[in-house]
């Protein structure tokens, strides 16, 4: 029981940390643009 709780807690903290990191590194700044950029062809110069 204690082990499961500790594991769940650690996973949760990791997820929270990842979310906070993603927010501070600007990954939520332009959701529409990111959706459109995937259509762009980078190789063609």
């Amino acid at each position: 029981m204690g082990l499961i709780l500790a594991a769940a807690f650690l996973i949760g903290v990791c997820a929270l940390a990842v979310l906070l990191w993603a927010m501070s590194s600007g990954q939520y700044d332009d959701p529409e643009g990111d959706a459109a950029r995937i259509l762009l062809d980078d190789d063609e110069e």
Binding site: L5, L16, L20, M23, D29, D30, L40
Partner: protein, 733 residues
């Protein structure tokens, strides 16, 4: 150019703030607002198109906000704008004010708190006693295990809710230090007290803990707070973008006679400016050349063009119709509104800012009620029922927890964000947070005529009295010109041939030799027409020695003007016309609209007086107008709208700006405003009903943590789903 460069780069560097300090001084970040880019191709076009230049090191276009960020050495914003325009987009410099970046910071802070609270909810809720009873079965757990889990929950719940609830604590402290109890005081009390009570119970090894309630409260309330901030930020962002879009370029004649393109905001009194035909003057000034026709409809509401002589004054917002004109600026842009109008606008805005939003009115009633109830419950248990101090305080806290305004906090913002978002998709921009609430109360609509009920384009009006040959021959000349009246003839005639060797006499008309005769199309005095019908806008056509033919023009009604007024009448909003134009022109429009009451020749001050009179009769006035002469009335009315073609002053003064050639957005906005008002009131009703049930239960001490949690979540859910019911009518075409 140099002074301009320094000025702009300083402000841009100020906006770039932090980023710039880390890099050498030459490195600059410039932000531009770009219009017309909506897809992946636009991103590629902008970014590739700009990164070709040597001074550009990095380009990034944000599709969500429409902002283009360019990094590079010694960038010149004006040069960048020219390059973006060469790519086919409209651009204007964007300088975020300090207030805006503070708002942005506030939004990030709220979002971070929301993430932490969400983490807390996801953890605490499955582990609390109530939930465990469902998925583990109480019987499986010995008291020792329960105690351990209880302490783990406490370990997670206390820090997460205390960290995540900082926005409420801050606001409550700010309110208290100003001597007022705002809505965040009971919220903060409920969170802190429920945690404290739960810790106390944990020490006593009791199962009655409220950790999940504290975490869920924080989470739900943060959602409401976040939505509210988004609505207000979107509104102020829309207002700022409108202002930024108005930053036009003008050509200034420098002392050495060289033409220099500068920002309109940098015009100083004494500058000489060249305005081409069709351009709108950004400043007040005196005219330095003779005879140009000027469209002053945005300034005075008068629809017929006036001809200005050298030395006469030209007001900002006037449009030069036929020939280039040199203007001697007498004021800078910000001082260019007629001082009287500017003062009236300011007075109007002060009056309007006294409006109290529905949510604030609800909170004002809510806060004292909750505090008094909780106190009464404590007193009742302790003094009258002789319960222990612990039981009395527990029940009082239970009241605070269950009444915590989750539904109330979500009720208005959820509706607002759905409504403004839906209107935005239809090209209707809501510029102030409470505009929809005020619009829902409107019962009288006052329309300006020129440019609002009518389009801003002149059309041929006496087509029926002209014969086919007249129109065909006039079009032979008219197709060669870019003059708005000539183009109106060309539109009526459709595509066709153009006469050879057409000469354009600036400010007079067109001349050509057709079949050996001299044909002229132009002003009455130049062509030789009678000036009897001087009241309306005319062009004359003379073929050789034949008698000249008169073409009359007027701005036609917007296609759905009549329909709009009758739709408004169905919604119990009566309409009137207030125009600065001549009485015959206004009367014609009034009749065409089915006998709407009208006033003509009304100046800015009289418009304000008329609105004040209506207000004194107890009416809530919706003002729809586009001119500088309407700006004061727009800011003073209960709520105001203006079309996107309106003057800068009108757009800044209006609450709502709509795009497109039709007036149907007025009706659509009224519908959405009334619907959202109904939804907000329904939401308040749900919240009140919930409290009416929950408070007696809590006061009696029978609200278990499970009941509190379910009640809180379900009332919030009902309120949110109700907000999503807002229906926005589609555009007719």
């Amino acid at each position: 150019m140099d002074t301009l460069k320094h000025q702009t780069s300083d402000s841009v560097a100020g906006a770039a703030g932090l980023k710039r300090r880390e890099r050498p001084a030459k490195d600059l970040t410039v932000e531009l607002l770009v219009q017309g880019a909506h897809c992946a191709n636009c991103i590629a076009k902008l970014e590739k198109g700009l990164s070709k230049f040597d001074d550009v090191r990095q380009v990034r276009f944000n599709l969500s906000t429409g902002k283009l960020t360019v990094r590079g050495d010694s960038l010149r914003p004006i040069a960048l704008i020219t390059r973006v325009e060469a790519l086919g987009y409209k651009a204007s410099p964007y300088k975020p004010s300090e207030a805006v970046s503070a708002d942005e910071e506030g939004e990030r802070f709220l979002l971070r708190c929301l993430a932490i609270a969400g983490f807390g909810v996801a953890f605490v809720v499955p582990l609390t006693d109530a939930t465990q009873a469902v998925w583990l079965g109480v019987a499986d757990m010995g008291p020792a295990t329960r105690t351990i889990i209880n302490w783990i929950v406490a370990l997670i719940a206390c820090p997460t809710s205390l960290i995540a609830a900082r926005p409420f604590f801050r606001s409550a402290l700010r309110g208290l230090s100003a001597g007022r109890a705002n809505m965040d005081v009971p919220i903060s009390l409920a969170i802190v007290l429920s945690l404290a009570l739960s810790l106390y119970q944990s020490v006593l090894h009791s199962a009655e803990t409220y950790y999940d309630a504290a975490v869920m409260l924080t989470f739900l309330l943060l959602i409401g707070r976040y939505l509210d901030l988004r609505v207000r930020r979107r509104a102020s962002e829309a207002a700022r973008q409108l202002v930024a879009m108005q930053a036009v370029m003008v050509r200034r004649i420098d002392a050495d006679g060289v033409l220099q393109t500068i920002m309109a905001a940098d015009i100083r009194p004494g500058d000489r400016i060249v305005l081409a035909a069709g351009e709108r003057s950004p400043v007040d000034g005196t005219v330095e050349s003779d005879g140009a026709s000027i469209d002053t409809s945005l300034v005075t509401g008068e629809s017929a063009p006036v001809s200005l002589a050298r030395g006469q004054a030209l007001h900002a917002g006037s449009i030069v119709l036929d020939r280039p004109l040199t203007l001697h600026a007498t004021a800078a842009v910000e001082n260019s509104l007629v001082a009287d109008i500017a003062r009236l606008i300011e007075a109007g805005q002060q009056i309007r800012s006294r409006y109290v939003r529905l949510a604030d009115r609800a909170a004002a009633a809510y806060v004292p009620t909750v505090h008094i109830t909780a106190l009464a419950v404590f007193v009742a248990w302790w003094l009258f029922l002789h319960a222990s101090f612990a039981t009395s305080i527990t029940n009082a806290i239970a009241v605070l927890i269950v009444t915590c305004p989750c539904a109330l906090g979500l009720a208005a913002p959820a509706v607002q964000i759905v409504a403004t978002g839906a209107l935005f998709k239809r090209g209707i921009i809501v510029k102030s947070g409470d505009a929809l609430e005020r619009l829902a109360e409107a019962d009288v609509a006052v329309f300006d005529k020129t440019g609002t009920l009518t389009t801003d384009r002149q059309e041929l009006s006496n087509r029926n009295r002209l014969n086919e040959a007249d129109v065909r021959d006039a079009a032979l000349l008219a197709r060669a010109s870019r003059h708005p009246l000539a183009q109106a003839i060309a539109r009526v005639a459709g595509a066709g041939p153009v006469a050879d060797g057409i000469g354009e006499e600036e400010g007079a008309g067109l001349e050509a030799t057709v079949g050996g005769e001299t044909w002229r199309l132009g002003r009455a005095d130049w062509v030789g027409g009678a000036i009897a019908e001087a009241a309306s806008t005319t062009l004359w056509l003379r073929r050789g020695s034949n008698a000249p033919v008169c073409f009359q023009f007027e701005a036609p009604l917007r296609p759905d003007a009549r329909e709009t007024l009758s739709e408004l009448a169905k919604r119990h909003i009566s309409s009137q016309i207030l125009s600065g134009d001549r009485s015959d022109a206004v009367a014609a429009i009034g009749n065409a609209l089915g006998g709407v009451s009208w006033k003509s020749g009304v100046g800015p001050r009289e418009k304000v007086d008329t609105l004040n009179a209506l207000k004194a009769e107890g009416h809530h006035v919706l003002m729809v107008g586009d001119g500088i002469n309407d700006a004061a009335a727009l800011s003073l009315s209960h709520v105001s709208m203006s079309p996107a073609s309106a003057s800068d002053a009108a757009q800044s003064a209006a609450d709502i700006v709509f795009n497109g050639a039709s007036l149907s957005p007025v009706v659509a906005s009224v519908d959405v405003a009334r619907q959202s008002r109904r939804r907000v009131l329904e939401n308040f009703a749900v919240a009140t009903l919930y409290n009416l049930v929950a408070i007696p239960l809590a006061a009696c001490g029978i609200v278990t943590p499970l009941i509190a949690a379910i009640a809180m979540a379900s009332s919030s859910l009902i309120v949110t789903v109700n907000a999503l019911r807002i229906f926005v009518p589609r555009a007719a075409h």
